[in-house]
């Protein structure tokens, strides 16, 4: 143990301890440290008195302010709902047509609908509703199950091939895979289907058109209609427009006919409130430039 010496830089004495050359000064604890220790402790004590703080067996000190975080949140939620009710009550009660005719209300629909849509729908349909491979474009006006707000709301509520009991169901068979059509027939109908939307065909495709039309008439018209414009009560897509869920190129259409398709949209009933679904239906309608 070394003897206490005076440090020339600070003028302080050392404690007299030394470890492998390290010494310590006997500097008193700076006042500011004690001051802040006292202040923060005082803050803690006051906070304990005011708020729920210390456990007492099966209960705890409730605090003089009587604040409970659950009640605070419940109250805030109630207050916010009451504030929004100024317009949400009207959305809940009014018909779609009345809401659409009210510009002030539609402004709320667009504001709130956008957030609802991007939080719940954009994962599949994209932030602008333009869809992607396997997911329909909602901004195209080409509707599977109808584009009226009522129809859209029903699709959202029940889902497609979803879990709701009364979900919308729809399936396209795998005509080639299941042996209903021979490969040559599939190729023929693919050419014909692509011609419906005015796509340019290869020479081989041109040659198959007539055969394709026959295959189409025998196998496809039940769902897609004689003109190929689809049927919204069956969820069968319009094949004559420029919009394709799974792609309109030869390979993609071939895959659809060969292996079939069965899209899936969750049933949102129970996950979104009826008012939210109504808001979303109206909002989705605005994506296509107005409900059709």
């Amino acid at each position: 143990m070394a003897d206490a010496t005076r440090d020339p830089v600070t003028g302080r004495m050392t404690t007299g301890h030394e470890w492998n050359g390290i010494e310590e000064l006997d500097t008193p604890i700076p006042r500011v440290v004690l001051f802040f220790l006292a202040t923060t402790t005082l803050f803690a004590v006051i906070y304990w008195l005011l708020m729920p703080a210390w456990p007492l067996g099966w209960t705890y000190t409730k605090g003089l302010l009587g604040i409970d975080q659950r009640e605070v949140v419940a109250q805030q939620v109630r207050d916010a709902a009451a504030e929004r009710a100024a317009w949400t009550a009207r959305v809940a009660d009014a018909s779609f047509a009345d809401i659409a005719a009210d510009p002030a209300l539609m402004r709320h629909v667009r504001d709130t609908g956008r957030t609802l849509f991007t939080d719940n729908c954009a994962v599949c349909h994209g932030t602008e509703g333009k869809g992607g491979p396997g997911f329909p474009n909602l901004a195209a006006g080409s509707w599977l199950w109808g584009g009226s707000p009522e129809a859209i709301a029903e699709t959202i509520r029940a889902g497609i091939n979803g879990t709701a009991k009364d979900t919308r169901t729809s399936q396209m068979m795998g005509f080639g895979r299941d042996g209903v059509l021979q490969r040559e027939q599939v190729l023929a109908v693919v050419a014909y289907v692509r011609s419906l939307s005015g796509q340019k065909l290869t020479e081989a495709g041109q040659a198959r058109l007539a055969a394709g039309k026959e295959v189409f008439a025998a196998n496809c018209v039940a769902c897609h209609g004689e003109d190929g414009k689809g049927q919204q009560d069956l969820g069968a897509p319009d094949l004559t427009d420029a919009h394709w869920i799974y792609g309109g190129d030869e390979q993609s259409v071939f895959n659809s006919v060969q292996n079939g398709r069965q899209g899936h949209m969750p049933s949102w009933e129970g996950r979104l409130s009826p008012t939210d679904i109504k808001l979303l239906a109206l909002y989705v309608g605005t994506l296509a430039g107005g409900a059709k």
Partner: protein
């Protein structure tokens, strides 16, 4: 390495390695239909490697009795190298997961490369691999110097160091295979946890046995902190990992706790891991290497005392601030918040004590990048403890929680404090250990310093911006009284910050690679210059050397 073991210790090493190999065989057989089997093979190989290593040098002559008049530094040297190896690996994975957040396609459609598996490789790699090895290495060094006593034997330090690294390997390889307890910073499964307990108890015993034989009347502050680190981490680790395995043939286990008790136990563990692993342990480092490098006495012994007891007492309560506004009863949140606020005082007292110790040595801070690393570490320690106490306040936490602000806060501590104090300490320690005058290149230390500082600042500022923007976007309402932004909107807003964060992390990684290179070249330089032990750098012998190591 083996040559420094006595014959009895070589036999003990073979016995322990053989037992480990046997455990590996049992795990491999019992867990043959499970990932446990894969880990059994790793344990088996590790055990066989140990046996092979000892046998290859088994018939070398015993170390002379004269060894007892030297400190035993071989484990420290290996620990330094392992620490830097893990630093490069862990930080590389860090940059990778940072890049994944900016460019999510970097997973290459491989399960092992998904974010959820890579992230714990990063966190465990840097905390346990880099930080843990550095703590073990420096603690052995500091313990011997400040006790003026040699480690109690030659075998147990190796058991601790290599056993600990086996734990790290099991952890990292398990994550990549999808093994996790889903407890943050406590992901490894039950068998790895049990192994770590064994290693840790031996580590604690080394400390006690050496301190018992110390030739100094007082125990130095650094050792208080290292002891707190070892003791409390043992308690935390055991309690948080209490679990029941599905069977002894399965890696999977279920925690003893559920629901909010599980959350509270986890964050009691998590926050005290920050306190006793990432704070107490590294304060031990700071208390030795900073005054040593600066050549200055500690500013105030009394301040050291109240800081130590303030930190150890107050941190224990603070964990619940991770669970503000959750199902956790509010009174627990109150206690977590208020103790976190009081905790700021001893934390700043520690940082202040370190900085005031530099009075009279600021010219060295200017000229010496090694000391500057330690000074900046103390500053970042002060900054991040202030930030931590601030974020623990419920009202602040309601903005910061679940945002990148938390990530920024952690990295201000991890990069600015933990990594900087480690690099500073290693730059001081490496020349002493390999008995050379200085590091291979002081210029590269300077380069590393600026890379590390720039990387940290870019990282932390990016996350502050990103976190606060996120927090504000999530709570902004429009005129209709509904949320103005969706989650995706906030994600898009974060993208530029995620890119800057990746750049900041990359700079820090490059710095770590520079450090590893510099240390490697220093070791090569040392091999070409033979030098003896400085007379002062020896333990104190009392009478016969045998008294130093009872049982030999």
């Amino acid at each position: 390495m083996i040559a420094t073991l006595t014959v009895e210790e070589r036999q003990r090493a073979i016995a322990v390695s053989a037992f480990l190999a046997l455990c590996g065989v049992i795990m491999a057989i019992a867990g043959r239909d499970d990932l446990l089997g894969t880990h059994g093979v790793i344990v088996l190989l590790f055990g066989l490697g140990g046996i092979g290593l000892v046998l290859s040098k088994y018939f070398e002559p015993e170390p002379p009795q004269e060894r007892l008049s030297h400190y035993y530094d071989d484990p420290t040297k290996v620990g330094i190298v392992l620490s830097l190896g893990w630093a490069v690996v862990g930080m590389f994975f860090g940059v990778w997961v940072a890049a994944l957040l900016a460019w999510p396609d970097l997973t290459f459609d491989a399960a092992w490369a998904s974010f959820g598996r890579l992230r714990p490789v990063h966190t465990s790699g840097v905390i346990f691999g880099f930080g843990g090895n550095a703590l073990i290495a420096t603690s052995f060094h500091v313990l011997q110097r400040t006790s003026r006593a040699r480690l109690p034997d030659q075998f147990s330090p190796w058991f601790v160091l290599l056993g600990y690294n086996l734990f790290c390997v099991l952890a990292a390889s398990g994550y990549l295979m999808g093994l996790t307890q889903s407890k943050e910073y406590a992901e490894p499964e039950w068998y790895a946890d049990i192994w770590l307990v064994v290693v840790w108890v031996v580590y604690f015993l080394i400390y006690i046995r050496t301190l018992q034989r110390r030739k100094e009347p007082h125990i130095y502050v650094a050792n208080w902190y290292y002891m707190a680190f070892i003791l409390v981490v043992a308690v935390l680790h055991i309690v948080n990992n209490l679990a029941v395995p599905v069977s002894f043939g399965h890696a999977k286990s279920y925690s003893l706790f559920s629901g909010v008790q599980d959350a509270m136990t986890q964050w009691w563990y998590g926050h005290n891991a920050v306190a006793f692993f990432l704070t107490a342990g590294f304060l031990g480092m700071l208390y030795y290497y900073l005054p040593k490098r600066a050549g200055r006495p500690i500013f105030s012994y009394r301040l050291s005392i109240i800081s130590f007891w303030g930190i150890t007492f107050m941190y224990m309560w603070a964990g619940s601030h991770h669970l503000h506004y959750t199902a956790l009863p509010q009174w627990v949140q109150t206690l977590g918040m208020t103790f976190s606020v009081v905790l700021l005082v001893p934390s700043w007292a520690s940082a202040g004590n370190a900085l005031a110790t530099l009075n009279g040595a600021w010219d060295k801070v200017r000229d010496d990048a090694t000391l500057r690393f330690m000074m900046v570490a103390a500053v970042f320690y002060g900054l991040s403890t202030f930030e931590g106490s601030f974020m623990a306040i419920r009202a602040v936490n309601s903005l910061s929680h679940y945002t990148d602000w938390t990530v920024g806060h952690v990295h201000a501590g991890a990069l600015g404090w933990v990594a900087m104090i480690t690099f500073g300490s290693l730059y001081a320690l490496v020349p002493w250990m390999w008995k050379v005058e200085r590091m291979y290149s002081p210029k590269l230390i300077e380069v590393h310093f600026w890379l590390a500082l720039a990387g940290t600042i870019i990282y932390v500022f990016a996350m502050w911006n990103s976190g606060i923007i996120q927090g504000l976007m999530w709570r902004t309402y429009n005129d209709s009284g509904t949320l103005a932004y969706s989650f995706i909107d906030s994600l898009v807003a974060m993208h530029p910050y995620y890119i800057s964060r990746t750049i900041g992390g990359l700079l820090f990684l490059i710095g770590a690679i520079v450090a590893a290179y510099n240390v490697w070249m220093t070791i090569r330089m040392a091999r070409s210059q033979a030098a003896g032990t400085a007379e002062a750098d020896r333990p104190v012998l009392h009478g016969a050397g045998a008294a130093l190591q009872p049982g030999e």
